[in-house]
């Protein structure tokens, strides 16, 4: 009997299924990351009385609470305590821990891939919704809650309802000055923040195949903002050659065996998806969000929100804007370049190429996604360009993306940000966030207002 054609997602799911009860499958988990927020899960594990099942498959990384200026740790005992709690829990359970001083530390979704801990074909989980990022490597990567984290710690498995499958096919090519961030915002705008709820998304098509690994990570990262559990791209030569440069990916014979397996991970011709969407990359322009949901974005040269609805009205009110206003020329109070969406080396290079030789008009904070990215950015002179332009250059971590580490946007202030969520209060109570690409954010920093990166005006 021949196997019916399977999607990439179905192949990986089936390879990890241990048992089934009704709609729930018990899945083997290959890789698990914990961060400061995982303390509830460690408490639950301890109270269950079970030991940690596979310590070699869980990695602890401090990111959410790491101050962008480490000297501040002394001023905020609560923040320092959160990091110490992770340190203690990982030590107690003998997990690998990448703490404050570790050269490999960074935002989980930046550090783990660049270390080669993220590999194709794995099931990867973390108590963080942006775990979708790791799908860029053709892994099945999901954000989970604290009770599920505790379950993974105790059993290295997870009970999951099987999501439906969805293909997002992107034809054509992104134009110069248009990035994976713009493509992600474009897609979310088209299908809505609930557009992929209940689905595992696979991105296909020439525009996706042409993306670098950094760009694929940006795209998969934002997939959760369309409601999907999973966003993935099938592994190809780009993936494999990227992984060969990482320190902890398999080597030698193990690598050969792994690569053979990885190249079998693609959707078979004729495999059926529950839902399919097709878009043309040529239609994508640099985008900026104007509202309080990632779906509320416009191309930078369009006016926003002419549609009148209650939701639009309350978003505009929170953002201090009027319907029909152009986004171009809108003044911003500050700029943040960072977060697991856009803090990799290529993002910083994009920002530096705009900032080079200029001076920022508004306070600008630039935070590398990991210590490795930070070191590289310093070695190749990017950090110097940022400092020369008058921007602050911080210690790697989540920083102003979520405002847990002491970096926040003041009430009513408008921030051009390369992060992923413009929810009310996300960057601090009353903060007004406009999401955009690193180059667009850098241009906003130089001009003190939103400009079109393609024309500079």
């Amino acid at each position: 009997m021949t196997q019916p054609p399977l999607t990439l997602f179905e192949k990986i799911w089936q390879q990890h299924r241990i048992a089934s009860t009704g709609e729930f499958d018990l899945l083997w988990v290959d890789r698990h990351f914990v961060h400061e927020g995982s303390f509830h899960a460690f408490d639950k594990l301890d109270s269950s009385g079970r030991p940690l099942a596979y310590p070699e498959l869980t990695f602890g990384i401090a990111d959410h609470y790491v101050p962008s200026n480490l000297a501040r740790l002394d001023d905020d005992p609560e923040v320092a305590g959160m990091i110490r709690l992770l340190e203690d829990n990982t030590a107690k359970h003998q997990l690998t821990y990448l703490g404050l001083g570790h050269t490999d530390r960074g935002i989980v979704h930046v550090a783990a891939p660049e270390l080669g801990l993220t590999l194709p074909g794995l099931i990867i989980v973390c108590g963080d919704s942006h775990t979708t990022t790791h799908g860029a490597f053709g892994a099945l990567a999901m954000g989970i809650g604290a009770t599920e984290v505790a379950h993974v710690l105790a059993t290295q498995t997870l009970w999951q309802r099987r999501p439906k499958t969805m293909r997002i096919h992107v034809s054509g090519q992104l134009a110069h000055g248009v990035t994976a961030k713009d493509l992600a915002l474009h897609i979310i705008h088209q299908i809505g923040t609930g557009g992929a709820t209940g689905h595992a998304v696979e991105y296909t098509g020439p525009a996706v195949a042409n993306l670098s690994m950094d760009a694929r990570m940006t795209l998969c990262n934002m997939t959760i903002e369309a409601g999907a559990r999973v966003g993935m791209v099938a592994p190809d030569d780009t993936t494999l050659s990227w992984l060969r440069d990482t320190p902890r990916a398999p080597t030698g014979e193990a690598l050969e065996q792994a690569e053979r397996h990885w190249l079998s991970l693609y959707s078979d011709p004729g495999a059926a998806y529950d839902k399919s969407v097709t878009l043309d990359a040529n239609d994508v322009a640099p985008r900026v969000t104007w509202g309080t949901s990632p779906e509320q974005s416009v191309a930078v040269d369009e006016p926003f929100a002419t549609v009148d609805s209650e939701a639009t009205h309350s978003s505009l009110e929170y953002m201090g804007l009027n319907a029909g206003q152009p986004i171009l020329g809108l003044e911003v109070d500050q700029v943040f370049i960072g977060s697991c969406t856009n803090s990799r080396l290529s993002d910083l290079r994009d920002a530096a190429s705009v900032l080079q030789g200029g001076t920022v008009k508004v306070p600008t904070l630039i935070v590398a996604g990991s210590n490795r990215v930070k070191a590289q950015a310093e070695a190749e002179g990017l950090a110097e360009i940022f400092r020369q332009a008058g921007a602050s250059w911080g210690e790697s971590g989540c920083s102003m993306c979520v405002a847990m580490n002491g970096d926040s946007v003041a009430p009513g202030q408008r921030c051009a940000s390369t992060s992923n969520r413009n929810f009310p209060g996300r960057q601090g109570p009353g903060a007004r966030t406009h999401l955009m690409s690193p180059a667009m954010a850098a241009a906003a920093a130089l001009n003190g207002k939103i400009v079109d990166i393609r024309t500079g005006g």
């Binding site: 269950s48 703490g99 989970i144 009970w159 309802r161 939701a311 847990m404 009430p411 969520r421 109570p429």
Partner: protein, 209 residues
């Protein structure tokens, strides 16, 4: 985990679309221990102003204090995976959330914490909302055994929920304990799987502060 079988109470209406988990519990409270209860932080920035004074347009008022059921706008619980969002509802006494769409991770977290997530089509949802707006103090009864929502004497609406979630909630199943029964299967799988794919386990790292 407290089982959910039948819940009767008036409903709290939170009808905005896309109420994300950052709004349900702002990030700055996630460092708090659960022991003091997370109900203080539920929708905090919508309930209190910057000085911590109650806002006059707060979505939750004194009159809602006994509510165990929430009728929520489309796509409730989207965004961050923080389970604190579910704790905030549960610690506030909420046992049922009804919406036209509930975000996946929030829904999973809910099932594991004794919060019943119910998704309805738009028309029946609107019917419930209309009733609760007209009769704010009148109770709804949510019956998970019968998979029904009932109100007044003669109104009844069936809802669907997958068997696995229903059973977890009805029995208050703790997944970690329940999975013990599968230990043999898990160990067999792990032995076979890791022997086939030795490259899955990364080279040993260092513990470093």
């Amino acid at each position: 985990m407290k089982p959910v079988t039948q819940v009767a109470s008036p409903a709290l209406l939170l009808l905005d679309a896309n109420i994300d988990t950052d709004q349900i519990i702002p990030a700055r409270f996630l460092r708090k221990p659960r022991s003091d209860g997370y109900h203080h932080y539920l929708l905090y920035d919508a309930r209190y102003d910057m000085q911590g004074r109650p806002r006059c347009d707060s979505p939750i008022t004194e009159a809602d204090s006994g509510a165990k059921i929430v009728l929520a706008g489309h796509n409730i619980g989207c965004g961050s995976s923080r389970e604190g969002a579910v704790y905030a509802f549960v610690d506030h006494g909420i046992q049922v959330i009804i919406s036209t769409k509930i975000a996946d991770i929030f829904r999973n977290n809910a099932i594991r914490n004794g919060l019943l997530p119910i998704m309805l089509d738009q028309a029946p949802f609107d019917e419930l909302v209309a009733y609760c707006q007209a009769q704010p103090q009148a109770p709804l009864t949510v019956d998970l055994e019968a998979c029904e929502i009932r109100w007044e004497n003669d109104h009844c609406l069936a809802f669907e929920i997958d068997d696995g979630s229903r059973e977890r909630l009805l029995k208050g199943i703790d997944d970690i304990q329940a999975t013990l029964a599968w230990d043999t299967q898990i160990n067999d799988f792990a032995d076979r799987y890791l022997a086939d794919r030795p490259w899955v386990v990364p080279a040993t790292g260092r513990h470093c502060r």
